[in-house]
Symmetry: C2
Subunit: 291 residues, 2 copies
Amino acid sequence: MSTNESYTPPKVWQWNKANGGNWASINRPISGATHEKTLTTGKHPFQLYSLATPNGVKITIMFEELLALGIVEAEYDAFLIDISEGAQFSSGFVDINPNSKIPALLDQSNDTPVRLFESGSILFYLAEKFNKFLPTDLKRAECMSWLFWQMGSAPYLGGGFGHFYAYAPVKIEYCIDRFSMEVKRQLDVLDQHLANNTYLCGDEYTIADIAVWPWYGALVLNRLYEAAEFLDVTSYKNVMRWANEIDQRPAVKRGVMVNKTWGELSTQLHERHDKSDFDERTQDKMSTENK
Amino acid sequence: MSTNESYTPPKVWQWNKANGGNWASINRPISGATHEKTLTTGKHPFQLYSLATPNGVKITIMFEELLALGIVEAEYDAFLIDISEGAQFSSGFVDINPNSKIPALLDQSNDTPVRLFESGSILFYLAEKFNKFLPTDLKRAECMSWLFWQMGSAPYLGGGFGHFYAYAPVKIEYCIDRFSMEVKRQLDVLDQHLANNTYLCGDEYTIADIAVWPWYGALVLNRLYEAAEFLDVTSYKNVMRWANEIDQRPAVKRGVMVNKTWGELSTQLHERHDKSDFDERTQDKMSTENK
């Protein structure tokens, strides 16, 4: 593999399976299922197939927030999709999300099940269905603009900065510089906005916050890419204030544990099928801490 | 600038203004206005501040489609924002879009004007306001999933592939390979889906098509990055069929001309304030062709 300046692309791109760095095994230039496998379904209205990456965590936080309001119709089963094992390429998963990315959701509360993919689409669907966390007044447009802002911006944080700073097999100065600049610009957009707003759309906590926090909140809380010092995140004081405030919400504390397979064992809840699953995890933690 | 493998990032990133390639002058690690300037406003309900990039074209197509249905409440003034001149950093523009990206929209049809940014948010707002191009039945979720799919996917086409294949000051094999693979995967996602669907959400042309066509349609029609041969776009036959079909729509033919400042002069309509503006352009074209 070459990163030197003399490279001339061929006339037609060819797939070289040796390239790609970490995650290379799950990157392909083709789509669709690699194997036949039906997904397991549980008894709740919503069936979530996910992993506790930032995009996955958005949805488990949303469900836990809805349940915290006493909305039992938002009960969900969260099944683990291990993307390092290629579970996103099963025929059952591709039937729900032809794009083979987590999270994917099935709403089986209606006669005709509804499939959903893309975390932004899932957040919007749940917000509209339960009429929560999405303003219906003039703030609705502002909320949707910030929700779409997250969807269009985070690829520069995840697929750009994160990849070239943390995952790529070589450190390429041009790429790290390009994406660091953009991520810092995005942090500054948030910081200036949150200087005058408690949450992204004003006084009200909405799906815009639930979408942005797992990416930019996690970044300033130094939970993504170990890049806090490199990006000087403490200089974004308003983002820090907002990130810490959301981090204290009980529903957020539960949401970030679901479908998590790394970190401290006490922070992992591989699958979630009942609210008592969290209690058991807390008991595990206490028992571990008492040892 | 180094692209060699020995690069070690510093502890804290620093802004080096010499990096960046084409468009480097408009990339900054900070946000906000660089100069005071009020935006001009016209008489129509909607004030669009934009440029005929793929994200800009989504909105002008949407307005032209709405007007083609006879919805006069969707009349709009389209003002040019020249991003190469830094017009997206004026105080007036930043007031509408703190993210300093086109398109930005002001709805002044209500007592309280509503600001909108992010092309996906604008499409959704117009679709909901006029109850057009967004299904209200079970297909609504499918439409929103594909709309969000576009928002999360196109950064890999524009900020990834397009940048490293066409704009970056050096050709870096690793980056071109990484983003070519992803764009081809995305094209294959669309191609397999469009094998069984006339439009992205079935039989109905929706905002999902209006969002995806200016990126992936333009790509297979060889209007982006001169990359058609490199990406072997003709192999995506269903995308080609869909792209050509949408390309024939009169509203699309008008939409792609608005705020366009490059290409054949007869294809450019720098600003749009009245439907007759297109007629004049057509007359220009006829008069040119008759010469």
